[in-house]
Every structure is written in structure tokens, then in C-alpha cells.
């Protein structure tokens, strides 16, 4: 099994070189490091978006979830497209606001829009709490991949430490650029790998997709519809999960921050329009999961994460195993890099500067954020090595948490009176409920995704709090969401007219 090891290692090494080289001749200031100077359009914005979204979860998780649960897996096909619909309307005004106010992080938005450093710090703390499990997930995914493709010759812990140690260094050097440029390689390889195994393996064993589905239906009747093989993920769960995950999609601090790197609102909308096609690749991963269910049966619990890799090793030549291993490893490294960057910037800007040293300038914030890149990565490595667990469940916990930002952000765009009191109370109630329900094993609750129940409570509290203690965003604040024909150059009065015309 040395061929897969060599190919995987070469692919990872290439990504690390690209990560360092992506800095180019740019002088790194805070704006370059965190949002790549807000210059991305077209391909780089697309791969950066796809790079963060289509992660090891996509790669191993989708196949493993299909293997373990059956029909409920189709939520993964749907939620991305629904999220892009929301983003088409939600992100352009946020991007304009961020550009006009010079924002770098998600928590910056809370600080600026609600005029409260403490609310920004609260948002930063919540962001870091939930983004670290998501980063850990990427690390574990990489460890699983490398161990499996090398038949255990390279330990999971060693692979994680080497790959993510180097990733932390290239993030330190190049910031968001490293995530965008490594993502170009990652997406190219991932698409090739998914096409090869997603078409090759089901056809090899079952002749056609129709043959595969018939065989699964025969062996596991009705498992490909809801509630699936676990028996608890029914129609209400599916609907509530689609709603929750489509709202939470861009609420991850790193995804929110990557949006700031866009060149224009139009580039964001074009991205939202065409990213749904990427979802179709996921369908191929489900087929691989269903194939594995029949060809390598009997995997349980966290073992289902290995469904795809076990099947690839069994059914494909070593060089394809290496390619899949390398692509899968990059699908962990790229989002891992973006997550660490986002978490470190949240700490540097919204906790260190906003709360501890308000007089700190951009240079100091950049220095502290870079230091925290190393700290956050070390913490993630520790968590990943100490306690492995089932990939999808971890993701759903993190997802439930970050989605709690949605009511505040959506309301703030359209309702001037959305207030810091309402938002802080809503966030605390929403996040508190998520932690309580998930940790005490009440997910799903009443057949619904627990995160959505918490989200409803959060929205009610946010609205009630804003009615009791209304915010008073000025007309100028609301005007920052509105378009202008020549970005930034439009006279103030014209911007205000736009605002009164908006809904």
C-alpha cells in the first residue's frame, strides 16, 4: 500500500506549497490577511465558497450518512440549494454594509450594526465555541482518510499533526488567500475523484443506478424513504432540518467572512445562482454510500465514516485510492484553514481589541490574530486526538449553534428597531437551548430538529426584546445596505432615497 500513500502525500504537499505561495508579493495588512482585500470575483470566489462548503463532511459524511441512515440523507442534497436561495437575497446587503463600514469578521457586524462591543464579543465567543468542533471535524476526517488509505501505516494522530501543523503555518503567512488558492486544487481533484468513484463503483457492482436502487430496496425495504433505517428521522425531522440547515449555512463565521472577500454584490449573486449545480456531485456520494451498504456491510457508529474508503480500497486500483485520499485530505485542510483563520480573527479583533485593549490598532490586531491561528489549531488538534466521534453528529451540533445568528442578522436588514438587547437575549436563549437539548439527548425533539426549536425561541425573544427596548438605527445605518450605482461614490442623499424606496 505504498502507492496510495505516495500519491496522497504528494497532493497534500502540493497544497501546502500553494498555501505558502498564495501570498505572492502582497504586503500583508489586516484587510489582505482576513478578506483578501475584497477583490474576489468569478472563479476564486466560487472555489472559496465551494472550498469551505464542500468539506470532508461532503466526502466521507455524505456517503457514511447514506450508508447509516438511508433516505434521510437526501436532506444533504437539498439544503445547499435552499441556502443559496437565501444567500441570494441576504448576502448582497450584508456585503455592502461590510464594505462601507470596513468590517472583517462576523462579530464586527454585531459590533457595528448594534453599536455594542460587548454584543460583538458575545457573537465572537459563540462563533468560536461552535466553529472549533467544526474544525475538529475536518481534522478527524483527514486522520481517518490517511489511516485508511495507508492501511494504518501512518497513524491518524501523526497525519493530523503534520498536515494541520503546516496548514496553520500557511494561514499564518498568507491568510484568506491560502484558503482560496489551495481550494482551486482541492475542487479540481475532488470533482475528478467524485466522478470516478461515484460513476465507477455503483456501475461496477450493480450495472446501473437503477440496479443499485432496486438492490437496496430489496435488501432494506423502505429505508430509502423517511424515516430511514434508524426509524426516528421522519417527515417533520426532514422539513425542520432543511429549514434549519438552509438558514445556518452562511452563519458559520468563516463562510460569513469569506463573503466579505467578494468584489461585488453581483459576483455574490452569480455565485448563489450557479453553486446549486455543485450539489449534484453529492448525489454521486450517496450512490457510493448505498453501494457500500451492500458490498461492505456491517459498519456501525463512527465506522460508517469509513464506508466510502473501504469500498474504494476494495473496488479500485491503488492510484485511485491515492487520488481519493489526497482529494479527501484537501477537503479537510482547506476548510480547516478557513475555520482557524476565522476563529483567530474573532479572538484578535472582537475579544482582544474590542474588550481587552480598545486602543489596539490594526497592526496589533493582526499580530494577535496570527498568534491565535497557532493556538486555535493546537486546541483543535488536542480535541481531535483526544476524542474522536461520528462526523455528522458533530456537524449537526455545530450547525444548530451557529444558526442561532440567523434571526438577528435577517431582522437587522429589514427592521431598524432590532436592538442589542433583543439580539443578546435571543442569542443566549437560542444557544442555551441548543446546548441543553443536544447534550441531554433531546435531538430530535417532538420529531423536530432541536436546533429549529431553539431557533424559534431565539427569534421570539429577539423580537420581544426589540419591542421592549427598541434599537434606533439611523437612516444612514440602514442606507448602508442599499445598492449604489457606483460603489462608494454615490452622494449621500441619493443613498438615503434608495433607502426609503427599499421595503
Amino acid at each position: 500500500m505504498t502507492v496510495p500513500l505516495i500519491i496522497t502525500a504528494v497532493i497534500v504537499a502540493a497544497a501546502i506549497v500553494i498555501g505558502f505561495a498564495s501570498r505572492g508579493r502582497t504586503r500583508m495588512d489586516l484587510e489582505q490577511w482576513t478578506v483578501a482585500g475584497r477583490r474576489y470575483g468569478g472563479l476564486l470566489l466560487w472555489v472559496l465558497g465551494a472550498g469551505e462548503i464542500y468539506t470532508t463532511f461532503t466526502f466521507l459524511g455524505a456517503a457514511g450518512y447514506g450508508y447509516a441512515k438511508g433516505g434521510p440523507v437526501f436532506y444533504i442534497l437539498g439544503y445547499g440549494a435552499l441556502a443559496y436561495i437565501i444567500s441570494f437575497f441576504l448576502l448582497p446587503p450584508l456585503w455592502r454594509y461590510a464594505k462601507r463600514h470596513g468590517l472583517f469578521t462576523q462579530a464586527d457586524y454585531f459590533t457595528s450594526r448594534f453599536g455594542s462591543r460587548w454584543l460583538g464579543a458575545l457573537a465572537a465567543v459563540i462563533g468560536v465555541i461552535f466553529v472549533v468542533p467544526y474544525g475538529t471535524l475536518q481534522l478527524e476526517g483527514l486522520g481517518d482518510i490517511v489511516t485508511t488509505v495507508t492501511n494504518g501505516k501512518v497513524s491518524s494522530a501523526a497525519a493530523m499533526v503534520v498536515a494541520f501543523g503546516l496548514a496553520a503555518l500557511f494561514v499564518f503567512a498568507s491568510g484568506l488567500r491560502s484558503a482560496a488558492w489551495t481550494s482551486v486544487l482541492k475542487d479540481a481533484l475532488l470533482i475528478i475523484a467524485v466522478l470516478i468513484i461515484g460513476i465507477g463503483l455503483p456501475l461496477k457492482y450493480f450495472g446501473s443506478y437503477a440496479g443499485l436502487i432496486s438492490a437496496v430496496n430489496h435488501a432494506h425495504p423502505h429505508d430509502l424513504a423517511l424515516p430511514g433505517s434508524s426509524g426516528v428521522l421522519g417527515v417533520p425531522w426532514m422539513i425542520s432540518t432543511l429549514l434549519l440547515t438552509s438558514m445556518g449555512f452562511y452563519m458559520y463565521p468563516q463562510a460569513f467572512m469569506a463573503t466579505y472577500s467578494a468584489r461585488s454584490a453581483k459576483a455574490i449573486r452569480r455565485n448563489a445562482t450557479f453553486l446549486p449545480f455543485y450539489q449534484i456531485l453529492l448525489l454521486l456520494m450517496f450512490y457510493v454510500g448505498f453501494t457500500a451498504l451492500l458490498v461492505v456491510p456491517g459498519l456501525k457508529g463512527p465506522g460508517t465514516n469509513f464506508a466510502l474508503l473501504d469500498l474504494v480500497k476494495k473496488g479500485e486500483p491503488p492510484w485511485i485510492t491515492g487520488l481519493v485520499g489526497g482529494a479527501g485530505a484537501l477537503a479537510a485542510i482547506v476548510p480547516g484553514a478557513a475555520i482557524v483563520l476565522a476563529a483567530a480573527t474573532l479572538v484578535g479583533r472582537n475579544i482582544y481589541r474590542d474588550v481587552i485593549r480598545p486602543q489596539a490598532g490594526d497592526v496589533a490586531v493582526l499580530r494577535v490574530s496570527r498568534g491565535f491561528v497557532l493556538v486555535v489549531m493546537a486546541a483543535s488538534l488536542y480535541i481531535a486526538i483526544a476524542s474522536p466521534s461520528l462526523i455528522v453528529n458533530l456537524l449537526l451540533t455545530a450547525y444548530d449553534g451557529v444558526t442561532q445568528f440567523f434571526p438577528a442578522i435577517a431582522l437587522s436588514l429589514i427592521w431598524r428597531r432590532t436592538s442589542k438587547t433583543g439580539v443578546a437575549a435571543g442569542l443566549i436563549v437560542g444557544v442555551g437551548l441548543v446546548l441543553y437539548l443536544v447534550i441531554s439527548g433531546h435531538d430530535p425533539i417532538w420529531g423536530l430538529n432541536a436546533g429549529l426549536v431553539a431557533l424559534a425561541a431565539n427569534a421570539i425573544v429577539t423580537v420581544a426584546g426589540s419591542l421592549l427596548v427598541p434599537g434606533r438605527a439611523s437612516r444612514e445605518v440602514m442606507a448602508a445596505y442599499a445598492p449604489s450605482t457606483a460603489e462608494g461614490a454615490i452622494p449621500r442623499t441619493a443613498v438615503i432615497e434608495e433607502d426609503t424606496a427599499a421595503p
Binding site: G41, G78, A210, S264
Partner: protein, 66 residues
């Protein structure tokens, strides 16, 4: 903004609202009916978003000089 929002969210509402009615593992050309239902709306989403873009107010479309 009502028209573009309505056009954009049509596939959203359709996909989610159809789940109870298309929840079946019946094999339709290589996909369970549930999967096919979701796939149809995923593939249709770009078309509806293109339509939504055309319905946006002029200022939203002609922004940034690009």
C-alpha cells in the same frame, strides 16, 4: 422586492412542502422518489434565481459598474 423574492423562493417552498407527498423509496430511473423530488428542485434553483435576478430593481442589478 416582492416579485424577485417570490421567484427565488418558489423552489424553496416547493421542495420543502413536497416532502410529505413524495416520501417514497419507489425506484424512478435510478433514484428513490424522495431523492428525485429533491433533485428536481435543486436543478431548477439556478433557473429561478436567474429569473429573480431579472426581476430585481434596476439599482440592484447595475451596481458597482461591472
Amino acid at each position: 422586492m416582492l416579485k424577485p423574492v417570490a421567484a427565488g423562493f418558489l423552489p424553496y417552498v416547493a421542495m420543502v412542502a413536497g416532502v410529505p407527498f413524495f416520501n417514497s423509496s419507489a425506484n424512478i430511473g435510478g433514484l428513490p422518489l424522495l431523492g428525485l423530488w429533491i433533485l428536481i428542485w435543486v436543478v431548477a434553483t439556478p433557473l429561478f434565481l436567474l429569473a429573480a435576478y431579472r426581476l430585481l430593481p434596476r439599482a440592484e442589478r447595475e451596481e458597482g459598474g461591472q
